[in-house]
């Protein structure tokens, strides 16, 4: 198990290095640079700035410098946000994104398992059809539409009630987090519901469920101890990538609900070609994604004993 964990971590480091390298050269291949945006710079000022940020050196040299700094955990200073260190930006805004992401994942996983199990139990009957309809809606409607509609609905509800049930935007209290995390988790929840449904149906017809019934176990026990545990395995498999996707993919929701998360910095940095912030956030997100996948793979072994041996 320890050797396996170690192996996965080494693989993870290589993956992150690859992400960093690919992003670095892709970023430099884009026309323009962080200074091209600057108001009326004279040639001399531009030269000075380039020298200060090291942009006057060859790309390969810059790359080596960047790698060296990255190893020390230093991503440098932002080009556009005056004198803010990239590490500080991540440190301040990532906890916000992570909180939102974790809530969204919890919502998606819980909802996916419950709805998926329900659709399987009521297969081809009314509850199944209703939930399946909503699931298809959840998968097909893009996140920014759901976000806008969610916000609009919130406005209407608050107006109708005459007081603010939940705030429509901003960040701070738990009440701010409810609607954005639901919106953010919706697509994943819909996807997990489908997965859970097919997984449940497959398990229902399996031999060991027949054995459990032949043993005379009560239906609730069969459901909880035999069916659910086995049906949940594929859901856990996709949970790792889902966590990363949700946490890193939240920038639309962050923008709509005016949440000061990392997603916003990430998108802005790309638009402004803010080299250091692009590299910092990409490497950070990449490492986070890789790490979550490893964590979930290790977690999988806790539920399925067959995986533990490897």
């Amino acid at each position: 198990m320890l050797a396996y964990t170690f192996k996965r971590l080494i693989q993870g480091v290589i993956t992150v290095w690859f992400i960093a390298t690919a992003t670095f050269f892709a970023m430099h291949a884009v026309p323009g640079d962080p200074l091209a945006n600057e108001r009326a710079t004279t040639e001399a000022i531009r030269k000075n700035l380039e020298a200060r940020y090291g942009l006057d050196r060859p790309v390969t040299e810059q790359y080596v410098l960047f790698l060296g700094n990255m190893m020390r955990g230093d991503f440098g200073i932002s080009f556009t946000q005056e004198n803010r260190r990239v590490n500080d930006i991540i440190r301040e805004s990532f906890p916000v994104s992570a909180t939102l992401g974790i809530l969204a994942v919890a919502f998606a996983a819980f909802g996916g398992v419950v709805w998926g199990a329900l659709t399987a139990i009521y297969r081809n009957r009314l509850p199944d059809l209703v939930i399946t309809f909503l699931v298809i809606l959840g998968i097909s409607v893009p996140g920014f539409v759901v976000a806008a509609l969610g916000q609009l609905a919130l406005v209407d509800i608050n107006a109708w009630l005459g007081f603010s049930l939940l705030p429509i935007a901003g960040w701070g209290s738990i009440r701010h987090m409810i609607v954005p995390s639901m919106v953010l988790g919706l697509g994943t929840m819909a996807y997990l519901t489908r997965l859970m449904r097919s997984s449940m149906l497959e398990i229902t017809n399996s031999d060991f469920i027949r054995t459990a019934r032949a043993k005379g176990l009560p239906p609730t026990r069969i459901f909880l101890k035999h069916q659910l545990r086995n049906a949940i395995l594929p859901v856990i498999t996709v949970l790792g990538p889902s966590i990363a996707a949700i946490t890193t993919g939240g920038f639309v929701v962050e923008l709509v609900f005016a949440i000061p998360g990392l997603g916003r910095s990430f998108v802005q940095s790309v638009q402004q070609l803010d080299y250091t912030v692009i590299m910092g956030t990409t490497v950070f997100y990449g490492a986070f994604l890789v790490f979550m996948v490893i964590v979930v793979d290790l977690l999988y072994g806790l539920i399925d004993p067959r995986v533990r041996l490897e």
Partner: protein, 346 residues
């Protein structure tokens, strides 16, 4: 207490006129059409027949394991110690399944929950039926595994099914089935998925356990070798009906139904000359969407008469406790049974 305890002659399990149907997209399949059999404590009844003849559906419907719908028991009774478990639907109650009637299945590799320790899967039954505590049930599970000839049972009980071989898993399944000392054990092709040496061990284990606790065994198989080794009585099923029933000797040496004779003739033996090929029964079983009015075996029967097509054959008692569903035994039939035997053996 129970009827069988009061009257040792009464069978433990007595199934009468069982009919089972399934709704399918193609129509209604009449899978079981009036099956009757009984089995006594300490005895083994083998139900034999080819694939799709309704063997498994018969026993699974008695156990309430067929999905309903689309499955449906339209008629019949199954008395367990004098109480009907089919019509009263009490088979779904915990008291019967896993407690009074145990069941083992064909493929042990997939019959156990892969994410649960083997010992826990046995203990579960005891917790539910006997109200044992977790600890108590697990200790008893280890004992039962030992009874099922699993070496190092206390270590094995803590392992998961993937760590077991096929034969070991079938032993574990048997341990689950006998944990509550059932009156009847239903074994649905218990050795079909296992290799021959393991088969013999499993059959010996079943016999041994039967001697120990006097349970009745209903053994479903299509292997006549297994029947000869295990059974006291045999019921031969064909197209959803029992066509012949009797003691092993009756059915093997004095077969009274042309289908049984066909099965025996099809079985190669060590004395069969090398140059003689296998002798299969020509044709296929009838379509159970529309079972024939007359004899189900009519189309394949080498001894068929005109009456066999339109009229359902009578159930004739050819010897005491030896019945055959065949017109050949009717007093007006031109051919006698002995003549039949000569023809088949020639």
């Amino acid at each position: 207490m129970t009827a069988s305890a009061a009257n040792p002659v009464a069978p433990v399990l007595d199934v009468k006129d069982l009919h089972v149907e399934f709704d399918t997209y193609g129509g209604i399949v009449k899978a079981v059409r009036g099956v009757s059999f009984d089995v006594h404590a300490g005895k083994t009844l083998a139900i034999v027949g080819e694939s799709g003849c309704g063997k498994s559906v018969t026993v699974q419907s008695i156990m309430g394991l067929i999905p309903m719908p689309p499955g449906r028991i339209t008629r019949g009774t199954a008395m367990l110690d004098g109480v009907d478990i089919v019509q009263q639907k009490i088979v779904n109650g915990r008291d019967i399944r896993g407690n009074r009637v145990g069941m083992i299945f064909q493929d042990p590799m997939s019959a156990l929950n892969p994410t649960m320790r083997v010992g826990d899967q046995i203990a579960e039954t005891l917790q539910v039926h006997r109200g044992y505590s977790k600890r108590q049930a697990f200790d008893r599970a280890v004992e039962v595994l030992t009874l099922a000839n699993i070496p190092e049972a206390d270590k094995r009980a803590r392992q998961y099914p993937f760590a077991f071989s096929g034969g070991m898993l079938q032993r574990a399944m048997i341990a689950i089935a006998i944990a509550c000392e059932p009156a009847v054990l239903i074994a649905d092709e218990p050795t079909t998925a296992l290799d021959v040496t393991i088969q013999a061990q499993i059959l010996d284990l079943l016999k041994d356990l039967q001697r120990r606790n006097g349970m009745a065994i209903v053994l479903i198989t299509h292997d006549l070798g297994v029947v000869a080794r295990m059974a006291d009585d045999v019921s031969v099923m064909y197209a959803g009906e029992i066509v012949e029933t009797g003691s092993v000797d009756d059915v093997f040496y004095r077969a009274a139904h042309p289908y049984t004779l066909g099965l025996k003739a099809a079985m190669p033996s060590s004395t069969t000359p090398k140059d003689q090929g296998l002798r299969p029964i020509e044709g296929t079983p009838p379509d159970l969407f529309a079972p024939p009015d007359g004899c189900g075996y009519f189309a394949r029967c080498p001894h068929a008469m005109r009456v066999c097509g339109p009229s359902h054959p009578p159930n004739v008692e050819v010897d005491p406790r030896h019945n055959a569903l065949c017109w050949l035994h009717h007093p007006d039939a031109p051919r006698t049974v002995s003549e039949l035997h000569r023809r088949v053996q020639a």
